[in-house]
Each structure stands twice: as C-alpha cells, then as structure tokens.
Amino acid sequence: MENKYLQEELIRISGVNPKKCMRCGKCSATCPAYDEMEYHPHQFVNMVESGDIEPLLASKSLYRCLSCFACIDRCPRGVEPAKLVEAVRLAAIRKQGANHLTADKVPAMLDEDIPQQAIVSAFRKYSK
C-alpha cells in the first residue's frame, strides 16, 4: 500500500533520508521502549522507505517512543530514526479528532507528586 505523497512529506518534515540506513539495527538495540513496541525504530526507517506507512500510522508504537534521542545519537550513519517516528506520529495525531491523549483522561493518570513536566510533555507528544 504505497503512499507517495505521505512518504515525501514524512521525509521532508523529519529531514531524515531513510536510504542512508544500512540495516545494522543499533537504533532498535538501544531503544529503551523496544519491548513495548510493535514496530521498532529500524522498522520505521525501512517501512517509510518502502512506502508501507499505513501500519505505522495505526500502531501504538507511535506512543511508546520516549523522545530520549538514543537512536538519534547512536546511529552510525546519522539516519536519526526518532525524527521519522516523530513525523509519523504527527501525521497521525494532526488529523481532526485523532488526538491520542485528551484532557478528560488526564486526572486518572496523576498522583500528587507527578511533575507538571510529565503532563505538558505528554500533551506535546500525544495531542495537537
């Protein structure tokens, strides 16, 4: 299911060139959310390159990336997979009504010690 327009947009927005990837898997090996992901960082790169983007858009993996920049710093070819994950996530949540996190769900997620930083970060990552 190739989607040329979306593929080009993702590459433009992220600034990532997936063709630089040499399939070494270091990004996924160093990912602290690996175990909770259906598609792993190296798969984001490969699937965007091949135009197989729909499964990524629908995957919970988008909301498991921790934005820790480990795969960005440790990629030996400077591919920076997390930038692609970010672009796919935005492509998903920018659609009307597609926010992953809405304000009404937040109170149940809080305890009295949780820092504001967690809440604003989650909104930045999960909602538009």
């Binding site: 433009r12 927005i13 992220s14 600034g15 602290p32 959310a33 175990d35 909770e36 909301y63 498991r64 921790l66 934005s67 820790c68 920049f69 480990a70 960005i72 710093d73 920076e80 997390a82 930038k83 970010e86 672009a87 935005l90 996190l101 937040v106 997620m109 305890d111 010690d113 949780i114 820092p115 504001q116 930083q117 967690a118 809440i119 604003v120 970060s121 989650a122 930045r124 990552k125």
Partner: protein
Amino acid sequence: MKVSYFPGCTLKNKAKDLDVYARKAAEVLGVTLEEIENWQCCGGVFSTARDEVATKLSSVRALKEAGSKNQPLVTVCSACHNVIKQTNHAMQTDKEFASKVNNYMADGAYAGETEVYHYLEMLRDVVGYEEVKKKVVNSFKGKKIAAYYGCLLLRPNGVMKMDDPENPSIMEDFISAIGATPVVYAKRNECCGGYIAMESPELAKKNSNAVIENAKAAGAEMIITACPLCRYNLIKNGADIPVVYFTELLAEALGVKEDTNGK
C-alpha cells in the same frame, strides 16, 4: 555577573527545590539569575519536526529577551535546557523554519544569537569548578554519589555540545567539587521512561528500576539529577537511596541550604 534565567513550569510547582537552591547557590558564586519576565512553558519536549512552529515560539521569545539584554540564557531543568537549546539550534541552521517563527515575533528577526547554558555548564565553564571548590563550607567528603544524566541533558550531542554523551564527566566533576566521591555506572545516561509514566507506568518502572539497581550495585549511596521527571520516576519506582537535585547539594555545600519545605 548577571544572566537571564528561565525557571520553567515544574520549578514553580513540584520542583521548587531545584529552583530555590539554584538561586541561593548562584548568589554565593557571584552570579545573579535574572528571571525572564513573562516566560512561558517550553513544552517539556522538543519536536524534531521542521514544520512544528507554534510549539517553539515560547522558547524563541525567551531567547530573544535574554539576547536583548546581551545576557546568556541559563536553565536548570534538563527538559527546558534541551528544548531551548534545540530550538536555538533550529533558528541558527534552518532558514525556512526561522523565517516562519520570526513572523510571530514583534520586533525584528532572531537567528539564534543568544548563548544557552545549563546551570551545570555555567558552573563548569563560567564560574569554574575550582571556584566552587574554594567556596565549599560543608564538604560531602566520603559520600558516594551517582550522577544520573538521563536522556535530555546530553542528547542530541550534535546540538547540546555539553559533554561526551557516552562518557560524560560534567556531573561527576561537580560531585568531586563538593568533596564527594562520584560513582560511575553504565545506566547513567539511559532514559528513566520520562512522560511514559502517564500512560505506561510499567515501562517507567522497568527503566527506572534498572537505573537504580545499576547505581546501587556500583556503590552509590545517593543519586543526583537535574530533571524533575527523572527524580519522580526514580522515587516512584522504588529508589531506596535518596534521589536529590544537584542544586540542593550545591546549596548545602556552600552553606546556604535552608529547609524550604517545598515553598
């Protein structure tokens, strides 16, 4: 000297200790932190997407205000530092992005001229750890302290340019400067889980436990951090040694720590 200071949302609320002790310690070291007027929350995480503009305006406004006073911009929260430094870098290197941002700025174009320092960089590069050492009145001699960098302080290294991202020493040198013994351990620059604590507490627990266990196995009696969310995740997920802000230890070492009781 005077510097512009961006405290950030959490330092006005759940992480008041990180802020209060930073200010007290800076005064002892001859630096006045001038809080930026009407600063707005940085948003906690930087979006690497080049077409995300609105979420970066608050950082640019803070950078511009510091620049208008010819002052560097200092932050103490790891997240604010990461967001503001990455935004500044985007303003320097991405002309199209900078042009869109500047459409929202009231007075003139900004191109990333302001210097951004984390408080630790200020200690190391502006004040100097030798100066810090000279001002220590309560030494932590004999205390084994592990530095927890987490993810945001050092990465992405090409932008943060703070230290070697895989073998850093800026926090260990700080620990030495206040007389304690730094404990080096493998997980010091791995992520605690961050905001995933909101919707997958299990993942935050797994990551945070790994950090705590690794630090303890290396002999740590205490962990220090510059990030409110790292501190929350480590404490929430079973740290049985103290996890404290580095500014609190600095204030204590310099003899200006009073119990703020979170006020």
